[in-house]
Amino acid sequence: MSESSTPVEEQKQGASRRTFLKVLGAAGATTAAIGCSSNTGEKLIPYLVQPDETVPGVSNYYASTCRECAAGCGVLLEVRDGRTFKIEGNPDHPLNRGALCSRGQASVQGLYNPDRYRQPMLRKNGKLSPISWTQAIQLLEQQLATVQSAGKAGSALFINQHESGSFPGFLDAWLAGYGMPAHLSYAALADGGVIAANRQSYGVAWPSLDFTAAKLIVSFGADFLETWGANVPQQLSFADARAKGADAPRFVYVGPRRSLTGMNADQWIACKPGSELAIANALGGSGSIAQAAQASDVPVATLQALATELAKGPPSLFLAGGSFDVALAVNGLNQKFGNVGRSVLSARPIESFEGMSSDAELMDAIERMRAGQVSMLLVRGANPVFTSPKSAKVADAMAKVAFKVSFSSYPDETSELCDLVLPDNHAIESWGDAQPLPGVISLQQPGMDPVYETRATADVLLAVAKGNPKLATAHPAPSYREYLIGRYPGGTAAFTAALIKGISSGALASERAKKAVVATTRTAANIEATSGDTYLVVYPSPLLDDGSGANKPWLQEIPDPVTKVCWQTVVEVGSSAAARLAIDSGDVLRVETAAGAITAPAYVYPGLRGDTIAIAFGRGHTAYGRYAMNVGVNPGDLLPVAFDAKSGAQAWTSTKVKVTKTGDFIPLVSSEGSARQHGRGIAQAIDARDLGIVPTPAEAEKTGGGEEHLPGDASHEFLPGLRAPVAQDAQGDLPSDDNMKGMYDPKHWSGMAKRRWAMTVDLARCTGCSACVTACYAENNIATVGAIHQSHSTSGLEGQPGANILRGREMAWIRLERYFEGGETLDESFETRFVPMLCQQCGNAPCEPVCPVYATYHSPDGLNVQVYNRCVGTRYCSNNCPYKVRYFNWFGYGEPARPQYAWPERMNWQLNPDVTVRGKGVMEKCTFCVQRIRESEHRAKLEGRAVEADEFTTSCAQACPSNAITFGDAADPAWSVTKMIADKRAYHVFEELNTFTAVVYLKKVNHTVAAGA
């Protein structure tokens, strides 16, 4: 850890350290150092002299900034004994308010990725081989000198992954010192068209959005819950809006494909690809409804109804994805309906998106490379070989550049073509800053020393500059950290103080002018004019984004929120097209365009127009490590190099394709069993109109029930669940003649007996984004099982990614079930309901009495406890679990010598030291994060107080960007969960089975009536 990193909270010492350690040890906490399973004699605690704030077995938290996307959310790095093992949202950060998306949470898997470059690499005889940092820096100095002396510095090119903060300015200054042009700040699949339109309309790249101020939300393909803009703050605001019950906004999604965002909409208007503009114009009054209906293949009545709804003038919010023109028209709608300043907060822009180069600028640079006009290429973070369409032939162009330097940490497609690799530190190992919002500085500090022999690029650049006597004076700072402190308003003291919270108010001096929009001439052809029979929609994967997530097994393994397919690229085919062409899920399709062809299995999806197919971008890597390579296919192979004329953004929906069945069949690696509920009331919903009618539990009591109960329907009454004899015993409800009850005695010193840990999941808030699943993987050492090397000859897909999942062996303790509602055959009006399903911690648990060895039993505080060491693996508990939330260790996922090992060396550093890694042949399941419960209880005891209400929460609840999950003690009215349980929307899943679950769901609220009606 760097010397002056400052922990967020000093450990409060209610007892001496020795006592605390004794308690920890005596509690049998799973503090065994599972993080160090290698036999190389590593130190348990990697310190020679232990810093004061570091206590073995107690976490420190360091506030930092997430760099997985441009947004710049605040994070807390949880550090134990010198290793960062978990990333959580920083509750004090104004952007993400404590939440964090899957990609951000998975960045630890990037940190410990086993395929990272471990030291600088130099191409020798066509192969990258390790060299020392001294050599590497010398070599870079030489090359820079050569370029400079040849007078070709002006034609050097630096491509940097777009980020905000001080680095872009620092980099440009450094480049200028060598006479090089400013760098390209590249972000693949960013919504360049929207940014350009926003700049034209509002003068900022990305306004903040306040969904709570709207009564009607209309999204024209803007997937604001996924990759469009800053998804975490948008999701927080959207969920807050949707939680307002009858006052919540109605949400209409316009687009050919119902994305995850579209699934959260109350209405889907399935327009033709490319016809969004016509609809937006018609709604804005600059076009006729009839023409728009014809262009978009949407019934006139549908558009007319929306126009009528708008005419009533409800506060609204219009969002656009895709091209500049649509975005501009939509901005016009916002202005027309008075949303600017109300729900579109252009005065509070998300500044992280400023300064982004367009795809066309990158492609121009690539063309210069191809023409041999680029003397030297430097790439940091970006991976243009993968993210550019195959038809751009970036690799060929790069071959024309004499010397190519990569600062990538990973062996990705681009760095594998470079001559010199100077691996950058991971964001968790680096200093930095960001300016996510005006007047907010978000600081980035390292959570630990570098895992491998990597160096921060900024420090490398400084070292190189110092080697040049002419430049040394221009770069006085000894390190990038010092440079940042030098720039920081208030200097060292303020900087150190700000590090504690990770954020401060103030503005960073910006050397970079706001980028002007660069128009391009290589515009996309009219989609109707391209050859083919079917429209192609290419969208960034919600989890893998532009493919940078593909080397993180969590993101590969967590099923796509929409298709529920993992470790695979599928061609989504609309239900009507599938029926017409006799395509079934799993049939291999060949998709062809003028630019290329791919083959991939089909996934039949009701949320897609019959004349359209959709393919997620992000898989199909040919390099990038063991988890990404040879997994899925890349739809970029199909795309022409074509840009949105006015913004220069790559046009992702720009071509038609020819789709043919090959006759092969590949089973889908999917977590989906049946996508329909079969009337079992698992995911329940209520219409907003009925919210006022449904009685509260108290009212229902008075009127003698009121509603008729269907099986699975909620009685709106929370059953505390402590009905099983053991549980009753725990509550002290059973008569006792002696005092031999141990912990079950309510007077027992542990004081656990009167607790009932419980959870509510508000389905009105839940968007199905699966961030809770990632959080659970991270917190609970859950094995990923789908990597290619983990397959087995009995799996049916040997040597294929996802082989174990094909046999249903995924281990996610919490899963997002996605049910479709609608008629027998789902039409456009179908509804999607998401249910996070986890162990329901039943009060009367079917799993408990069937275990022959007491491996699962009821704890005094009402938890279903699974004792891994006692489990012999009969799997009877799983058979008897109606919710099917128990997971079995089919292979030795925790044994390093096996091919199924889930944490190849250094990935195991991420393992949570508080949680056991389960062995082969035992059952596991959600524990309600029992390690967090016990930690809080121990801390409270040490501090001589009771556990306070809402003092801690589970990992899933902590991460949820919708705040849909609330955890707490339902036996204590002070906890929020107790209030949530009293909600009239509350229900238990399979209540008729008398399991007395501790997980209470709050019904989803549907808004079918026009806003303002």
Binding site: G673, I682, R809, P849, V853, N879, N880
Partner: protein, 482 residues
């Protein structure tokens, strides 16, 4: 040595399900002893059979060792189908293990004479079938090396098994049944062991047989004690026949799984077990009587009677199948109804129809006496019954688990080559023990058969006896005289 007459020769068609059983071609005690002991001679065919059995066992054992090393993932489990081929095969073998005790104990108490010639075979089958079945609960464990945690033994951790769990009941039921049926088999063997001892020339083997026969001297007193002990054990075993498979059925009936959670399971499982056991008896005894030239002992009359028992249990099982469907409809439980519709029309429809055909429809042919006396037909039918009963357990276990409450977790299931290898190994294991037995100990009860040889023929009267194998009266007198 024995020239066996054609099967139709002197066969009686009376109701022979009584003590009044006759073996017209069996003339003397000596003939009984000679002919039955003759089956103990080792032949090439037997050696070949043993080699095949041991090979199959080897394949299964290898697969198991591999499975222990790699983890249960090498088997075809597909959550939520957490039980598969192993538990199916476990229930299958436990079921097989029922006919033996039924025939030897219950039919003994009922004085059903036809049991005399088949009961030893059935009892041996029972013991080895239960030994085979007993392997599977261990074999299917995630951590089989910890299997003893299911047994309540004193330990310093003071942890006991969960006595509410049907799996613990299983441990007791199976171990009790194995102990009692093995004891019963051994007690019945004592007089025969004495015969072996007397005929044995190898001193070591003679010694062993002597010890095993408890120094049987054929005295009146010994016979009196023997008869009482045998009757007592028969009475003791009888309830076990009903209890073991009831307990096995609790593994399912006590769970909340649709398709499992039903009160009909205990009688249904017991009937099914007896049905499958008799099926397996046919599968074994028909080749045995042919290859060991014992057709004049195990006559068509006996097979006919056993086939009637088979038919009866088939009808009980068929009735249970229909009752299950009725109750599912009558219950009004949607999950239960959905499961039963899925059972016959869903992804596993073929398994359900194999079960219904093999166990309910084909055995109806046994209403024909002609077919009951056709050994080829009986053997073929018995194979179908074995198959049908395996699939019955498949239908109970796999479709139920794959189609439970939570539709999102509905899943397919397909066994892998490891599953099949272990299933094959179980047949190898069973066959190996059975084959070893039949060459060491008589597969027909010598003493009991002698009881039904008519008294006036107890001594060979002339050299004109059927086999022409003349023997002087009085040889081996100590054994031959009852």
């Amino acid at each position: 040595m024995t020239a066996v007459a054609p099967e139709t020769h002197e066969e009686r068609r009376d109701n022979i399900a009584t003590a009044d059983v006759q073996l017209p071609l069996v003339k003397s005690y000596t003939q009984v002893t000679d002919e039955i002991l003759d089956t103990l001679k080792i032949t090439k065919a037997w050696l070949t059979g043993l080699a095949i059995a041991v090979t199959c066992l080897g394949i299964g054992a290898t697969a198991w060792i591999y499975q222990i090393y790699m983890g249960l993932g090498v088997a075809g489990y597909h959550p939520p189908v957490m039980w598969g081929v192993y538990i199916i095969t476990f229930v299958f073998w436990v079921g097989i293990g029922h006919a033996g005790t039924l025939i030897s104990a219950i039919l003994y108490l009922f004085r059903a004479g036809f049991r005399t010639t088949i009961y030893r075979c059935a009892e041996v089958m029972t013991v080895f079938a239960v030994m085979t079945a007993g392997l599977f609960p261990i074999l299917h464990l995630g951590r089989p090396w910890k299997f003893f945690w299911l047994i309540p033994y004193p330990n310093w951790r003071l942890i006991w098994p969960q006595f509410k769990s049907p799996l613990v009941w299983d441990v007791f039921a199976i171990l009790t049944y194995l102990t009692v049926s093995a004891t019963f088999l051994f007690i019945g063997l004592i007089p025969d062991l004495a015969v072996l001892r007397d005929r044995e020339t190898n001193p070591l083997r003679k010694k062993i047989y002597g010890v095993l026969s408890f120094g049987w001297r054929n005295s009146d007193r010994e016979w009196r004690h023997f008869a009482r002990a045998y009757l007592f054990l028969a009475a003791f075993s009888t309830p076990l026949v009903l209890s073991v498979h009831s307990v096995v059925s609790f593994d399912f009936a006590m769970a909340d799984v649709p398709g499992w959670h039903t009160t009909i399971f205990p009688p249904y499982f017991v009937a099914g077990a007896i049905f499958s056991g008799i099926g397996m008896v046919f599968t074994i005894i028909i080749p045995v009587r042919r290859w060991f030239k014992l057709k004049h002992y195990v006559t068509l009359n006996h097979l006919d009677a056993a086939a009637k028992l088979c038919l009866f249990t088939s009808l009980v099982v068929g009735c249970a199948y229909l009752t299950e469907f009725f109750i599912a409809w009558y219950s009004g439980s949607e999950t239960e109804q959905a499961y039963f519709v899925n059972r016959v029309f869903g992804q596993w429809w073929w398994a359900a129809w194999i079960m219904l055909t093999c166990n309910g429809i084909l055995p109806m042919m046994l209403f024909s006496q002609k077919l009951r006396r056709n050994t080829t037909f009986l053997f073929t039918l018995s194979i179908f019954i074995n198959l049908g009963m395996w699939y019955e357990r498949f239908v109970i276990i796999v479709p139920s688990l794959s189609h439970e409450f939570e539709p999102w977790q509905w899943a397919p299931y397909a066994p892998t080559y490891i599953d099949w290898a272990i299933l094959l190994g179980s047949f190898g294991w069973f066959s190996m023990w059975f084959l070893l037995f039949v060459k060491q100990l008589p597969v027909l009860a010598i003493a009991e058969i002698k009881e039904i040889v008519p008294p006036r023929m107890r001594h060979p009267v002339s050299r004109l006896s059927l086999d022409g194998h003349g023997e002087t009266p009085g040889t081996d007198a100590s054994n031959e005289v009852l």
